[in-house]
């Protein structure tokens, strides 16, 4: 059982100063699965990814990756564990002073003593997997948003990690890149035996490729299930989210004083 779950999050809470972001989250990711964490913007999805990556420590609860509790690791231990992880940042976060090839080769050069010939072949294989072998000599500034994200994906899988995390992989992509990226995530997960965790608010695209979905709202998990469970769910929050409705438990307006009061129509203003 322990070995089936690559990521286990138990009762995790986290706050930025006085503002609680997560309040008791439980989540597991089995090996070989594609998991999606969904929720509206600012609900703490990205914070959850940063917790799994060990960039921040939970205020309460435990985060376990590959059986190791992140809270108990020192920096060396954390860096050792991170070699088993890859992360795709929202806008790729490619190193802008290096070519596409050097970006993908970065980890191989930093963490191994492989000869340059071997690195050359490995990098081209990773770039081929994302369909960008021909772009290896371009600079990041010459890539479109979708291409940059595919390069970042090739970089994230350069060391053959066990876990790959994706922060909003679908944000701002055109419909073709959207489908390509979705299929790529599914295909890489299956062929390389990865575990993938997606943080996204693109419901339709991600429901096509995921095995299991968690819905986060106001710091707690409000719903979970397979893609079919989610589509069929009649929970008001999930229904609103999946169908993109304006009215529902999630309100359009940021909390404010009553409108009449703000416009000073109360009659007693000085």
């Amino acid at each position: 059982m322990q070995h089936d779950n690559l990521v286990e999050i138990e009762d995790v809470a986290f706050d930025y100063g006085a503002r609680p972001v997560l309040k008791g989250i439980n989540l597991t990711a089995r090996r070989g699965q594609v998991i999606a964490i969904m929720g509206s913007s600012g609900c703490g999805k990205t914070t959850l990814l940063r917790l799994i990556g060990g960039q921040i420590k939970p205020g309460q609860g435990t985060v376990r990756v590959a059986g190791e509790s992140l809270g108990e690791l020192n920096q060396a231990g954390l860096y050792r564990l991170r070699r088993k992880m890859g992360m795709l940042f929202q806008f790729g976060a490619l190193f802008t002073d290096m070519s596409v090839f050097d970006n993908v080769a970065f980890q191989l050069r930093e963490h191994s003593d492989l000869p340059e010939d071997a690195i050359h072949d490995m990098v081209l294989m990773k770039l081929h997997a994302v369909g960008l072998r021909g772009a290896s000599q371009l600079m990041p500034a010459e890539l479109s948003g979708g291409m940059a994200r595919r390069v970042a994906l090739a970089r994230a899988i350069a060391l053959d990690p066990q876990l790959v995390m994706y922060d909003e992989p679908f944000a701002g992509l055109d419909p073709i890149s959207l489908g390509v990226t979705g299929n790529l995530i599914r295909r890489l997960t299956d062929t390389l035996g990865l575990t993938s965790i997606l943080v996204t608010h693109d419901v339709q695209e991600s429901l096509k490729i995921v095995d299991y979905v968690y819905f986060v709202s106001e710091g707690v998990i409000v719903a979970e299930g397979t893609a079919d469970d989610i589509r069929a769910s009649d929970l008001p929050y999930v229904h609103q989210f999946v169908h993109g409705e304006a009215e529902g438990p999630v309100t359009f307006h940021y909390p404010a004083a009553p409108y009449v009061e703000d416009l000073r129509l109360g009659g007693q203003s000085a």
Partner: protein, 262 residues
């Protein structure tokens, strides 16, 4: 009203002290993670190209003009005492002791310091530093420390070149243009400039300025809020703070170094 002003002052002071604390911790972190910068010296050399070599034009041209001005002004004053043959001494000592290290440092702060802050700040804003951390590579060791040592090594070299160009500028104006005796110009300079007192102290100054400028530039970049105005504000602060730091440090160092000099 007054209470608010005092509260604001207190708040500012606390924040300032806090930032100094962070900067010191940052400096200690750079020292602790400097191994990579020397083990893979290629990384440091690459940064020396960006901050040192690319500052050469501004340093050399400024040095030449400062020296030429020194030649003109110095000659004007010295000739009233009939001491125009001491022009070599005046030009060399003012450059090696003061103008070389200080002006080169000010130029370095605005040319290379601002570039370092903007680069690190943007790398942070575009999550490149986070990405590096997630790839199990420490950004302090891989990005920050090589830039620090590159700056510390480049600064005295740039100051030396500035002084050399300045002396050449003084020679052009004094000897070639005005006609001060060439032999006297060089021989008086040679006998008056002391290696330890003048040259070495100048080198020490420029090393200290190099440490101050690169630490400030790197810290401002690393600490910059990840937004457009955050990075621009940090770049401005780098130039202002490091220029003031250079001038203040210069006073302190001069007071210690040239205390007993007659």
């Amino acid at each position: 009203m007054l209470k608010q002003a005092i509260a604001r002052l207190g708040n500012r002071t606390l924040q300032g002290v806090g930032r100094i604390g962070f900067a010191v911790r940052f400096f200690v972190a750079i020292m602790l993670h400097s191994g990579t910068a020397f083990r893979r010296f290629g990384l440091t050399i690459r940064e020396m190209y960006f901050s040192g070599v690319q500052s050469l034009v501004i340093i050399l041209v400024s040095g030449l003009f400062v020296g030429m001005v020194l030649g003109l002004q110095g000659y004007e004053t010295l000739q009233t005492y009939g001491a125009e043959e001491s022009l070599g001494i005046l030009v060399a000592l003012s450059l090696v002791r003061e103008l070389g290290p200080v002006v080169a440092a000010l130029l370095f702060a605005s040319r290379a310091g601002s570039a370092i802050t903007a680069e690190i700040g943007l790398m942070k804003a575009t999550e490149q530093l986070s990405a590096m951390e997630m790839m199990a590579v420490d950004p302090i060791a891989r990005v920050v420390a090589p830039r620090f040592w590159a700056g510390v090594i480049s600064m005295p070299l740039l100051a030396a070149l500035f002084s050399a160009m300045g002396i050449f500028g003084g020679y052009l104006v004094g000897v070639q243009l005005i006609g001060v005796d060439e032999g006297a110009f060089w021989s008086q300079m040679q006998s008056a400039v002391d290696f330890e007192q003048d040259i070495l102290n100048g080198v020490i100054k420029s090393v200290v300025f190099g440490i101050a400028i690169t630490t400030i530039a790197l810290f401002e970049g690393y600490d910059a809020p990840p937004t457009a105005e955050g990075v621009s504000g940090a770049t401005t602060r780098t130039v202002v703070t490091s220029s003031l730091a250079v001038l203040a440090l210069d006073f302190v160092l001069t007071a210690f170094m040239f205390r007993g000099l007659s």
